[in-house]
Amino acid sequence: MNQLATSMFSIVEAWFLAPDIKLLKIQAPLIARKRKAGQFVIVRVHEHGERIPLTIADADPGLGTITIIVQGIGKTTRQVNLLNAGDALLDVVGPLGNPSDIRLFGSVAVIGGGVGTAIAYPTAVALKEVGNFVISIVGARSKELVIMEEEMRATSDELFVVTDDGSYGRQGLVTDMLRELIEAGRSIDHVLAIGPIPMMQAVAEVTRPHKIATTVSLNPIMVDGTGMCGGCRVLVGNESRFACVEGPEFNAHAVDFRMLAQRNRLYRSQEQAALKKFENWLQYALDPTPCCQLEKEHPEIGPRSHT
């Protein structure tokens, strides 16, 4: 029998990189074998869960595992972050989206904001491998939220860390750092920026007057991830593009960020209500009985396997 994708998506390792940011290694051999930098998976945690996209941060084809790095911001991502080695994800499908455009640009600035650093990491590795000079700028709100610093350092020729509050590295925004480099006359042939929408938009505005080609990875709301629903449509150069199959990377100077931000607010009230309910539940559910958290929340799905 062939080893097939659906047999199991068990979690082999899981640990927190920062408060609310967890790294999980998942058994998914077919995806591990195929994935390229810049691609993502769609994950469903349990029978009643939603489908959410997560970037493949790394993969080990030999062991058949992929790595995802998840920031717990809403109900589903927090559920993922409750899982540990030995638990499993119900559905993992991929690799989806186009691989990053990996070419010898010359000198490339890779900018990661928050969990965006994890999403930018595999592409930084690939850019370095083909011989680019990689300057990385890792940004976070404060020291404890800086992630992947060592990994990024290992794959970069130069690395700068900036924090909003100055608690670590330089104080400021990633765009301050980028502007400084450009103004100092550093040659930058290409910029890759991944992070919150306002950050990506700000980077685009910094590079635009200098005509530095800039790529961003967009994060619209997705359902299927295969071009079937059109929910992930973004406006690029005034044209409608499906980010899951035509992206997720696009030319930053052509992206309508305002539209993207608006569309990502579509379910704000439902998301907030779901999160609140979930947090209330968490409060009284944190008793020490050794049973899967999800099982308690959804008794109707029955016991989950722990292998």
């Binding site: 869960g49 059109g230 199959v245 608006q262 569309r263 379910y267 439902q270």
Partner: protein
């Protein structure tokens, strides 16, 4: 068991109506609308059949279901035999009995329709299939001894499922690969629960599983595995591509990106597959329709499913916006009637020209243009022509675009030696469903463009026959 009535008596019986839930009650829940014939109704309706020597109904059915013989068995009270007879030509009778456009197929051809109402073939078919399922006596046929040949089927809609069913019987090893997390294709993510309960599809899928079909969900062919890898590295001897026509079409008018504007695929997937209607128990949201104005653009089955779902999500006003007149609507007649009974408002001869939103990017209205019918177009239907100066604004909070779908290119773009036509559909020989790539067959909506469940199923069976022949002879 009953005697056949003399012909004169038969035509005196009126067509038996399908029992259905009260329109106002059902418009607020997702329970199945039609409750089905009971034994008495089924027999009474069956008695109307004239037992034609040359039954036109059989020719009207795309897969040639032996309607007359099935009806005979119903009159004799041999329901399980009737079910077996149905299954000779139709592997999903509980589905087709519910969703076939009978009025243009079997019933459209029925001789009774010339002077009276045609025989309610769909209702009888459904009755027989439900009887078989409810008695739990579906006699599953035993597959032939293993041939050692392996077939990969891409897509688990009616085309893929019926092909799998036939090939497993021939003793081949069959694996169905499905991109989504559940098996069934449009039967599951498109057609809503109130029209086709999901457990019907799941029972059929479970039966296939018991017969030995292997199902792999969460595999996107073209991404997770390519067709070439299936054939070369994974050792499949043949591949059947049945990926459907799942690429949503938008209208390319201003405002389409506003929050609240959906493709029918997204809206129905959220509501059906992800069960957004049960927000207390499921996590996928759908933009709220409760007490709001919802418009569905289009006149096909998808549009009817969308608008009736919106009503059930609590819409204050639910509109169908269609640019031609009701006579040209491609939807099944029954769906149009049901929609009207439930309170859907039909705005035919109207076409949207712009979506209007507020500062936060949410939909607030739609600019509509009135249309009139001009000369017939290529499709033979009268072409809708805009009436100058007729534009007006309709307040709308949610809009669902259901104007058709196209071919998803994921498989085609990663299988360069498999030819496609100018719209991106796969080119396949009509008789054998062979593509231009050796060992690869294709059928269903991905070849024909959006069609019907029964045509997709027919394609699946044709493919099974020619795949079997190819596996036996090795001749391409």
């Amino acid at each position: 068991m009953a005697e056949r009535l003399p012909p004169k008596e038969r035509t005196k019986i009126p067509r038996q109506a399908m029992p259905e839930r009260d329109a106002l009650e059902r418009a607020h829940n997702f329970c199945e609308v039609n409750s089905g014939f009971d034994l008495a109704l089924a027999e009474k309706e069956a008695q109307r059949c004239l037992a034609c020597a040359d039954p036109k109904c059989v020719h009207g059915c795309p897969v040639g279901v032996k309607v007359r013989e099935v009806v005979d068995l119903v009159i004799e009270g041999e329901y399980l035999k009737a079910a077996a007879k149905l299954r000779e030509d139709n592997v999903l009778p509980a589905v087709t009995g519910r969703v076939c456009p009978q009025e243009t197929q079997c019933e459209g051809a029925c001789i009774l329709g010339k002077r009276f109402a045609p025989l309610a073939i769909g209702h009888i078919e459904r009755f027989v299939a439900d009887y078989e399922r409810q008695t739990g006596e579906a006699g599953l046929p035993t597959p032939a001894p293993p041939t050692g040949k392996k077939v990969a089927i891409v897509g688990s809609g009616p085309a893929g499922l019926s092909c799998a069913g036939d090939l497993i019987l021939k003793g081949h090893h069959v694996t169905v690969f499905e991109a989504l997390h559940e098996i069934g294709g449009v039967l599951l993510y498109g057609i809503p629960e109130f029209r086709l309960p999901k457990d019907i599809v799941q029972t059929e899928v479970a039966n296939l599983g018991r017969m030995g079909v292997e199902f792999q969900t969460n595999v996107v062919i073209g991404k997770t595995i390519t067709v070439d890898e299936l054939l070369n590295e994974m050792g499949y001897d043949a591949v059947f591509v049945a990926t459907g026509a799942g690429l949503p079409k938008f209208m390319n008018i201003p405002g389409e990106h506003l929050g609240g504007v959906y493709s029918a695929n997204e809206f129905l997937t959220r509501v059906n597959l992800m069960k957004a209607y049960d927000a207390d128990h499921y996590d996928s949201p759908v933009y709220s329709c409760a007490n709001r104005n919802v418009a569905i653009i289009g006149g096909g089955n998808t549009a009817m499913d969308g608008v009736r779902s919106a009503l059930r999500l609590g819409a204050k006003n639910a509109y169908i916006i269609y640019r031609r007149s009701e006579a040209e609507m491609p939807a099944r007649v029954e769906e149009v009637h049901h929609a009207k009974d439930e309170g859907v408002q039909f705005m035919t001869l109207h076409n949207p020209v712009e979506f209007i939103g507020n500062d936060e990017g949410f939909l607030t209205g739609m600019r509509l243009q009135k249309m009139e019918l001009g000369a017939p177009d290529d499709s033979g239907r009268r072409r809708p022509v805009p009436m100058p100066g007729s534009e007006f604004l309709l307040p709308i909070d949610v809009a669902v675009i259901a104007i058709g779908t196209g071919a998803n290119p994921l498989v085609q773009s990663t299988t360069p030696d498999m030819q496609t036509n100018k719209w991106g559909y796969i080119v396949a020989d009509e008789a054998t469903l062979r593509t231009t790539k050796r060992g690869v067959f294709a059928g269903g909506d991905i070849v024909s463009g959006s069609a019907t469940v029964i045509l997709a199923m027919g394609a699946g069976r044709t493919a099974a026959r020619s795949i079997h022949e190819f596996l036996n002879t090795g001749v391409w």
